[in-house]
């Protein structure tokens, strides 16, 4: 089976090129296995990977125009056509399929992704009702692979100012948490025309998320909370 791989080494290449590899595929093979086989043949080929089971979020790549985790994408999904693998779009390419995720992590940090308490921290457990805990489902599962933010045109245009779907999903994860006591502070930090309101509900993030999370819905919840607080 033929795989076309994006190649670019800034130390050597003037511009990127696509390189074709024929790899014999086996039943149950994932795209990560194909990339490992290519790496075995050509040691200069670079891509990120780690756990191999969709947990670490390292091997986000763009496959035939769609962001995916290579380790949980079966090759059999692409039996009919050629497979074109590129780096995550909109991010500066460090080498081949490795991109610079600095903006992405910077935006994640910007939403203070940890519990903030004004009351003293309880000595033992910080209890929640089952309903309060259930509000966090669909939020905590994010593995920071970057498939969502790097598929978002608004994030391509303003990666330094727009928080992006991943950071906004994380922001809502803490706004929705009954144990967090910094709602006003968090909403104030989302002030301005760029941080939240560059989202135009394009929903590429929802389509791309390998964990089937819904950042667009989380952003809607943030806007609704702002509305609730303003009236």
């Amino acid at each position: 089976m033929e795989f076309q791989i994006y190649r670019f080494n800034p130390d050597v290449d003037q511009e990127p090129r696509m390189q074709s590899f024929a790899v014999e595929v086996e039943r149950g093979m994932m795209l990560r296995d194909v990339l490992l086989e290519i790496k075995r043949r050509d040691e200069s080929f670079a891509f990120r990977h780690s756990c191999g089971e969709g947990v670490c979020g390292s091997d986000g790549v763009n496959v035939n125009g769609r962001n995916q985790l290579a380790c949980i994408t079966p090759v059999s999904d692409y039996e009919k056509g050629p497979v074109v693998i590129r780096p995550l779009p909109g991010r500066p390419v460090t080498r081949d399929l490795v991109v610079d995720m600095s903006d992405f992590y910077h935006q994640y940090h910007a939403v203070d992704p940890w519990l903030k308490r004004k009351d003293p921290v309880p000595e033992q457990e910080n209890l929640q009702t089952p309903e309060q805990r259930a509000r966090l489902d669909g939020l905590w599962e994010c593995i920071l692979c970057g498939c969502c933010s790097s598929s978002c045109p608004s994030f391509w245009w303003n990666p330094e100012k727009f928080l992006g779907p991943q950071a906004l999903l994380s922001s809502w994860r803490f706004l929705a948490d009954s144990r967090d006591q910094a709602e006003d502070e968090r909403l104030d930090a989302l002030d301005g025309p760029y941080k939240v309101f560059r989202c135009h509900t394009i929903m590429n993030c929802v389509d791309a998320c390998p964990k089937h999370l819904n950042p667009t819905r989380a952003i809607g919840h943030i806007r609704n909370l702002m509305l609730k607080k303003s009236v």
Binding site: N158, L187, G192, Y194, K195, V196, F197, S230
Partner: protein, 111 residues
Amino acid sequence: MSRHLSGFRAWMWQRASAVYLAGFCIYALARLITVPPVDHQALKSWVGNPGMWLATALFFLFLLLHAWIGVRDVILDYIKSAGLRLGMLAAVFVFVLICGLWVLSILMGVL
């Protein structure tokens, strides 16, 4: 705590104005179809009615506000250079202002 969010306020006004614009368009079209004005004078007197005049003035106010926020969003998305962005925002603002004054002069003529 400040709730004067430039992003939030713009977003809220864009949606609120959209609701008014849709409602006004439906009403005006329904009225023009069901009771079509026989001549220009009849149309003028319909718009010149104080209630309708106020509703029409609000329609254009919200239309210009809606357009300003929409174009502002496009500029914020695409224009990276701060100077060019400021220049384009100013140009669009002046254009919207001129349109507003023009609409106002027309509406004052109807009264």
